[in-house]
Amino acid sequence: MPSRFTTADIERVAQLAQLELGPEETEMFTRQLDEFLDYAAEVLAIDTSGIEPTAYVASHPLSDRDDEVRPSLDRAAALANAPDPAPAAGLFRVPRVIG
């Protein structure tokens, strides 16, 4: 059975996921995703007409709370793990986006 994926398909998905793949990874994922989807074909074949999807199993009662302002993480702590913080400005620095 021919693969449902081409290298170009895998590269398109990788781009959506903001992932850079090496040539070996592209080849490997092409094969492995195809294998999994072959296996999962039986799921696709099940008649689900009239069946509602389950996104998650609601565990009522959920613990709602009043929408009141509470203290949050202070700025220094929030920046402490940043790879390129600008503490004086209180910002995360990123590569230039505009211009």
């Binding site: 895998i10 998905v13 990788a14 959506l16 996921a17 903001q18 992932l19 850079e20 793949l21 090496g22 990874e25 490997m28 994922f29 492995q32 995703l33 294998e35 999994f36 296996y39 999962a40 039986e42 799921v43 696709l44 099940i46 689900t48 069946i51 509602e52 999807p53 389950t54 996104a55 998650y56 199993v57 565990s59 009522h60 009662p61 959920l62 613990s63 709602d64 709370r65 993480l73 702590a77 929030a78 402490a80 793990n81 940043a82 790879p83 390129d84 995360f92 990123v94 590569p95 230039r96 986006v97």
Partner: protein, 495 residues
């Protein structure tokens, strides 16, 4: 008589003054120091912090009187945030991440008098069934050095099995507490979806993830669950369903309890030794008065396909946050070759960072999940899987009209060899056949040690219960452990 429970015994010894919290923590740390180099259960040992904390407990004994986990050393899976203690989730992406806050489950353990001694190895972001997907260490099964401890909470399971700590926290998305518990010969409980706050749990698949205890006995697991369960203003999915003192449910009484057995699911693909131990476990339960009822779960055989479509879709979304901006790894631009311009764009930084930061299994799941959610495939894969998820859930609802719990083996085989499945993802996924249904249906499930294979590897059986009825699972598991001694055996690594 309830079975001998190391956590309870240690807690009682500290409470009565027979030993101090410092003694208890020192003993745990010394076992880690002696045994963990060969085992690889821990990624970080927070020895000084733990001893300081224990000294504080000892110095204020009056204030801590009656604390349910007083002086008990606990290990925490490294995808659960510990304030000031490095938390990597087994990923290069978070190699140097030091959380500025505690997970609610961790804070509750400490408020109950427990002492966190360290962080345990796991498959990267909880994705795997062998702990081989950790970026940092190989964890070995305490029962056989050439076997995996299971995963993804393999470090937590190995730590408890080797008596490095009497209990540990793990997380379970498709079996990550129960499967390693079975492979290592201990008890592992995945609570009902929403039973335990996930604040501070590094997200993998948000409709499935749940934190739970690993311990040697149902009694010890009940002690830990009572402490960590309950509503939390920091996690809207944590239910305000009342939390009982779970140990109170451990009556030893099984008369009137109906246990469903989905016999047709066991017809193929299960090791003969596993099946024999499972049937013997059922005999023990029947001997205590439980009624065994044959049931059908017609859609359970589709659960692996459904699980891996849904879990990877959710993972692809959750892991979008690792972008090299706010925390974690960032890969700076590659130096440009002669005559080239280095790509210094933000997008190139994202892609480079994610290439270097994620391991192969995580990339594979991001790829599959992104595909299942992408335009043109969403209905066919993701939505379809969610509809079949409804059918799986209904199967259980129907079964629970007739029975109080569903029993099955936890895994189709005992612990597999290191390296055996790591290059064949589908083979690895298929081993999750009995564990993925409970999280899909939001149900609690527990794995209990029930024997050993011919090669001396532990075997576990699983009980799945009604939503928020962990008490029933713990009661059945405890009753079983009163009549068996599997949980008292110690692995050869135990020196």
């Amino acid at each position: 008589m309830t079975p001998s429970s190391p956590l309870r015994a240690l807690r009682d010894a500290v409470a009565s003054g027979e030993c101090s919290a410092v003694d208890a923590v020192r003993e745990s740390l010394s076992r880690i120091e002696r045994l963990d180099p060969a085992l690889g259960a821990f990624l970080t040992v927070a020895g000084d912090r733990a001893l300081a904390r224990a000294a504080e407990l000892d110095a204020h004994r009056d204030r801590w009187r009656g604390a349910p986990l007083l002086g008990v050393p606990v290990a925490v899976k490294d995808n659960i945030c510990t304030c000031g203690v490095r938390t990597t989730a087994g990923s290069r992406m978070l190699e140097r991440f030091v959380p500025p806050y505690d997970a609610t489950a961790v804070a509750r353990l400490e408020r109950a008098g427990a002492v966190i001694v360290g962080k345990t190895n796991c498959d990267e972001f909880g994705m795997g069934s062998s702990t081989e997907n950790s970026a940092f260490a190989l964890t070995r099964n305490p029962w056989a050095a050439d076997r995996t401890p299971g995963g993804s909470s393999g470090g937590s399971a190995a730590a408890v099995a080797a008596d490095l700590t009497p209990a540990a926290l793990g997380s379970d998305t498709g079996g990550s507490i129960r499967q390693p518990a079975a492979f290592c010969g201990i008890v592992g409980l995945k609570p009902t979806y929403g039973r335990v706050s996930r604040y501070g749990l590094i997200a993998f698949a948000s409709s499935l993830d749940q934190i739970g205890p690993l311990a040697r006995t149902a009694y010890d697991a009940a002690l830990v669950l009572t402490v960590i369960a309950g509503a939390d203003g920091a996690d809207a999915t944590a239910s305000s369903e009342p939390v009982a003192e779970f140990t109170a449910a451990l009556t030893g009484e099984l008369r009137g309890v109906r246990i469903g057995v989905p016999r047709s699911m066991l017809a193929a693909g299960v090791d003969a030794g596993v099946l024999r131990s499972f049937d013997e476990a059922l005999d023990v339960l029947a001997g205590r008065g439980a009624e065994l009822v044959e049931i059908e779960l017609p859609h359970a055989r589709h659960a692996i396909g459904v699980y891996y479509l849904i879990a990877t879709a959710e993972a692809s979304s959750n892991l979008a946050r690792y972008d090299g901006v706010r925390y974690g790894l960032r890969v700076p631009p590659a130096a440009a070759g002669p005559g080239e311009d280095a790509d210094n764009s933000l997008r190139a930084m994202y892609a480079r960072t994610r290439r270097a930061g994620f391991g192969p299994e995580v990339k594979r799941r991001i790829m599959l999940g992104t595909y299942a959610l992408s335009a043109g495939y969403y209905d066919a894969y993701y939505l379809k899987a969610q509809r079949v998820r409804t059918l799986i859930l209904r199967d259980y609802d129907r079964a629970f009209e007739r029975v109080d719990a569903v029993a099955a083996p936890t895994t189709p085989s005992p612990a597999f060899r290191i390296g055996e499945r790591i290059h064949d993802p589908l083979q690895m996924y298929l081993g999750d056949v009995f564990t993925v249904s409970a999280p899909l249906a939001g149900l609690p499930a527990i794995s209990v040690p029930c024997g050993f294979s011919a090669e001396g590897l532990p075997i576990g059986f699983q009980l799945t219960g009604r939503r928020f009825d962990e008490a029933m699972l713990l009661r059945i598991a405890d009753a079983y452990q009163r009549d068996t001694t599997w949980h008292e055996r110690r692995p050869p690594v135990h020196a």
